[in-house]
Amino acid sequence: MIYYRDLLLVLLSKEFKVRYKSTFMGYAWSVLHPLMLAMIFSVFFRMFMRVPDYTLYLIAGLFPWQWIANTCTGATGYFLGNAGLIKKVRFHRSMLVLSSVFNDSIHFVCSLPVVLGFVWYYERTPQWSWLWLVPALIAVQAVMLVGVGLAIATCNLFFRDLERLTSLVVQMLFYLTPIVYQPDMLPPSYHWVLYANPFANLILCWHGVFYGGGVELLHLAAAAGWAIVLAAVGAGIYRAKVWRFAEIV
C-alpha cells in the first residue's frame, strides 16, 4: 500500500516537473484558458444566447471541460512519453495513466475557488449538497477519464498519429456538449446527441451545481453509466495490449 502511494506520488511530481516545468504554470493554464474562453464567448454570443447570467453558465461548464481536454490531449503521450521506463522496468503501466489523471484532477480542484468566486459574484448560494455532489462528480469524471486515457494512450503506441486526431475530436465534442449553449436550445429531435456524448451529461451535472437548478438524477446516472462503460473499454484495450508495450514503444 505504501508502495503504491509512493509510486503515485513520485509519478505525480514527475508529471508536474516534466509537463509544466513548474506547478504554477500548470495551475495558471488550467485557470487562464477557461477564463479566456469564457470571456470570448460571453462577449460574442451574449446577443444570441438568451441565457441569464451567461458568464456564470460558461464558467460552470468550461472549467470541468478544461480538465477533460487536458487529459484527453495529454493521453497520447502517457505511454509513448515514458518509453525508457516501459522498456527497462517492470511496473504497473496503468499507473502512468492514473497519475496523470490524478494530476489533472488536482489542477481542476485548485481552479474551483475561481469558479466559486463567480458563484459568489452572481449571488448564488452554496448548498450543503455540494459537499457530496462535487466530490461525486469529480470521481465520476476521473473514472471516465481514466478509461479514455487508457484507450488513447494504448492506441497511440500502435498508431502514433493520434495526437492531432484527438485534439480534433475533443474540439468537436466541445461543440456537441452544452457548454456555450443550453440543451433546450437544441431541437428535440437532436436530444439523443446529449446522451450519446459521454461528457454532455457530466457537464449538465456541473451546470446543475454551479449555475443552479440542481442536479438531475437522470443526468448523474447517465454520466456514471458512461464512466463505467468507458473505464471498462479502456481497461479492456489496455489489458489486451499491455504485454506488447515494450516491443513497440
Binding site: 511530481s13 521506463l85 527497462k88 498508431f159 486526431l165 515494450a246
Partner: protein, 251 residues
C-alpha cells in the same frame, strides 16, 4: 553455493512480427485500407528466440554471448519482465534490477537526482528507502557536480554511470546488464566489475551480456552462447567462448 533457482526458462520462444503495418499511423491505415489489411495478413513472423531452456542459480553469474541479433537483449528483456515470451514459461525469484542497457532508461527532462527517486520507487522501494540510499548512489556514480542537471545534458557514459549506480544500490536479487560497460571509461568499468564481484559473494544473481570475452571469462560462472535465437552451448566459460570464437572465425 546454494542450488536455489533464481531464474528458470523452460522452452521459451519469442516471436516478433516484422514491419508492424500500423506504424505509419491511423490515417495511413484508413486511407490505404485494402493494401494495409493485406500487409497485416501477410506480415512475416520472426523467431527471435526458439525453445530456450536454462536455469540460473542464486548467486551465479551467467553471461550471454553471441553476435548482434542473436537474441541476447530479448532474453534479458524477458527476464526483466518487460517482454512476454510467446511460448514456454519463465520464472524469476527476487527483486530484479532495471534492465541496464544503452539509451534512455531515465527521463530526459528530470535531473539525475529526480531520476534516482523515480527509478527506485518504480522498482519497489519506498521513497524513504530511496532517500536513504541517494547519497551513496551519487557518490558511487561520481556525478556529484551534475546530479541536479537535467539528464539530457549527460553524455551516454554519464547515463550509464548513473544507471549502474542506481541498479547496484537497490539491493537487487537479480542484476541484468546489457552491454553497458563498453561505454564507461576504463576506471569506472573496473569499479563496476569490482562491485559485481562483491555482489556475487553476497549471493546476487547476475545475467551479463558483453562482447568483451575477456571480461566474460573473468566474471562468469557459466556462459551461454546464442546464435540466431538458439542456444548453442551453455556451461563452462572457456568452452562456450571457444565455440563462439570458432563461429566468428568461420563466418
Amino acid at each position: 553455493m546454494s542450488r536455489e533457482v533464481a531464474i528458470r526458462l523452460q522452452g521459451v520462444s519469442k516471436r516478433y512480427y516484422l514491419g508492424t503495418p500500423v506504424g505509419d499511423g491511423l490515417k495511413h491505415l484508413l486511407l490505404h485500407l485494402p493494401s494495409q489489411i493485406k500487409a497485416i495478413r501477410q506480415r512475416k513472423p520472426f523467431d527471435a528466440l526458439v525453445d530456450i531452456s536454462f536455469d540460473v542459480h542464486r548467486g551465479e553469474c551467467l553471461s550471454l554471448i553471441g553476435r548482434n541479433g542473436a537474441g541476447k537483449s530479448t532474453t534479458l528483456g524477458m527476464i526483466a519482465g518487460v517482454l512476454k515470451p510467446s511460448a514456454g514459461t519463465l520464472e524469476t525469484h527476487g527483486r530484479i534490477s532495471p534492465l541496464l542497457e544503452l539509451g534512455a532508461g531515465f527521463n530526459q527532462q528530470l535531473t539525475g537526482r529526480e531520476n534516482i527517486m523515480l527509478n527506485g520507487v518504480m522498482l519497489g522501494l519506498t521513497r524513504r528507502e530511496v532517500r536513504e540510499r541517494t547519497a551513496e548512489i551519487i557518490a558511487f556514480s561520481e556525478l556529484e557536480d551534475f546530479i541536479d542537471a537535467p539528464l539530457r545534458t549527460y553524455s551516454s557514459g554519464m547515463i550509464v554511470r548513473l544507471g549502474f549506480s542506481v541498479a547496484v544500490h537497490l539491493d537487487p536479487d537479480i542484476l541484468l546488464v546489457d552491454e553497458v560497460l563498453a561505454v564507461g571509461d576504463a576506471r569506472f568499468r573496473q569499479k563496476c566489475l569490482e562491485r559485481m564481484k562483491q555482489f556475487r559473494s553476497r549471493g546476487t544473481t547476475m545475467v551479463f551480456v558483453s562482447h568483451d570475452v575477456g571480461t566474460v571469462a573473468k566474471i562468469s560462472d557459466r556462459v551461454a552462447f546464442l546464435e540466431s535465437g538458439r542456444l548453442v552451448e551453455i556451461g563452462d566459460p572457456a568452452k562456450a567462448i571457444e565455440a563462439y570464437q570458432g563461429r566468428l572465425r568461420a563466418a
